[in-house]
Assembly symmetry: C2
C-alpha cells in the first residue's frame, strides 16, 4: 500500500508576487528608468538582498522602507536623481495598491470552502499587509495575517517559518507554504514545512534548495492539487 500524502492543516501564502501583481509598481519604476522594464526585477532583487543584510547585521527596518532606499541607490547607480519622498511614494505607497493576480480570489475561495485554514505570511510590515489584502479584496479569505515585523527577521530566515507555525498552534510539518519565490520555498523546506512553488512567469526555483512537493503554474493548479489531498 502506498503512502498517501496527507492534507496540511494550515496553508501559508506569500503575498507580494505570489498573490499580488506588482505591475503598478513596475509601471512606475519602468518610467523612472526611462522605459527599461528589466530594472524592476533588478530593484526587487536588491531589495531582497538588503532585507537580509539588515537581518545579518542585527538590525530591522520595514520592508517598504528598505524598498525605497534601495530604489534610490539603484537610481543613483544609473545617474538618476530621486528624492527619498518620491521613492517612498513609488514603493511604500505602491505596495499598498496592488491588484490580486486574476485567478487568486477564486482559488482562495475554493480552498477555504474545502476546509483549509488560510494564512498570509509576508515580509511586508503589519499595516502594509492589512492595507494590501484590503485593497486587493482578499482579506476575507484569511484566518490570520502574519507579518515578519513581529519577529524582526525577514523570510527566508528559518526562525520565521517556525514562528509562523507556532502562531497557528501547529507543528511546522503540518503546514505548507505557497510562494512564487525560490528563496521562500527554500526557507520553508529547510524549516521542515512543506511547500509548493508557484512558477509565475519569469520565476524559477533555486537549484541548490531541496525540491518542493509540487510545482504549479498558478493558484488554480495549486488549489486543484491541495483539494485533491482532502
Amino acid at each position: 500500500m502506498e503512502n498517501k500524502i496527507t492534507s496540511p492543516k494550515v496553508l501559508f501564502f506569500d503575498v507580494n508576487e505570489t498573490l499580488l501583481d506588482l505591475t503598478p509598481i513596475k509601471t512606475k519604476i519602468t518610467k523612472l528608468f526611462n522605459g527599461d522594464s528589466d530594472k524592476v526585477s533588478h530593484w526587487f532583487s536588491t531589495l531582497l538582498h538588503y532585507s537580509l543584510v539588515v537581518s545579518a547585521t542585527g538590525d530591522y527596518h520595514h520592508f517598504g522602507k528598505i524598498g525605497a532606499v534601495t530604489l534610490k541607490m539603484l537610481a543613483a547607480e544609473q545617474g538618476i536623481s530621486l528624492s527619498i519622498e518620491d521613492a517612498k511614494l513609488i514603493v511604500t505607497q505602491g505596495f499598498k495598491q496592488l491588484p490580486a493576480h486574476e485567478e487568486v480570489a477564486n482559488a482562495l475561495s475554493r480552498l477555504k470552502r474545502s476546509g483549509y485554514t488560510l494564512v498570509a505570511l509576508t515580509n511586508s510590515d503589519s499595516d502594509t499587509l492589512a492595507a494590501q489584502l484590503q485593497y486587493a479584496q482578499l482579506a476575507s479569505f484569511f484566518d490570520a495575517q502574519l507579518s515578519v515585523e513581529k519577529i524582526g527577521l525577514f523570510k527566508p530566515h528559518s526562525k520565521v517559518y517556525g514562528w509562523a507555525a507556532l502562531q497557528m498552534g501547529v507543528d511546522p510539518k503540518d503546514t505548507l507554504l505557497l510562494a512564487a519565490h525560490g528563496w521562500d520555498v527554500a526557507g520553508a523546506l529547510q524549516a521542515n514545512l512543506r511547500a509548493i512553488f508557484i512558477a509565475r512567469k519569469g520565476k524559477y526555483e533555486f537549484p541548490l534548495a531541496p525540491k518542493t512537493e509540487a510545482v504549479v503554474q498558478n493558484l488554480t493548479e495549486a488549489a486543484d492539487y491541495l483539494i485533491g489531498l482532502k
Copy 2:
C-alpha cells in the same frame, strides 16, 4: 586637546570589486544577455541575495557555485538557455582571472611600507581567493588570506567580522574594513570594526547603515588617509 583618531592594527580588504575589477566577467555576461551591460549588476545583486538566503536557511555553498546557479536563473528569466557548465565557466573560472583595479598595487605597497598589517577578507572560497590574488599579482602584499568558507557564513553576517579579528589576534575595534559595498561596511560597523567606504563608480552607501569614518574614491585616497593616521 582633540581626540586623535588612532591607526588601526589590522586592515581588512574586501576583494571582489574593491580590489579586483569584474570587467572580464561583465564582458562575458553582457554578451550572454545580448549586449545588455546592466545585467551584470542585476546578476551580482541576485548572487549576493542568494548567498544570504543560503545562510538564512542554515546551509552553505561556495560563492562561485551560487554565482553560477543565479546566472542560470537570471538567463532563464530572460528566456536564454545556459548550461550549468557554461555558467560555471563564466562565473567560477571568471572570478579567478580578474585584474586588480589600476591603483591597487601601489596603494597596498604604500600601506605595507608604512607598517600596516594587510588581510584579504572575502566571500569567495579559499581556493578561489588564493587564485585571485595570485592572478592579480597582489598575493605578496597580504599577511593573511581569509575566506568565509572557514566560518560557513557570508558577509555581512556579523559573526564573520568578529571571527576575522579573532583570526588575527586583535580586538574588532582595532581593525578596519575597506570595501566598495554598502552592505559590507554596514556589517563591519555593526560588528564594532571601523570602516572606509570605497566609492567606486556606481557604488553607493546603504542609507540605513551607520556612517563610515571616511568615504574615498579609490585605494590611493584610502592609503593617504590611513598613512596620515600613523
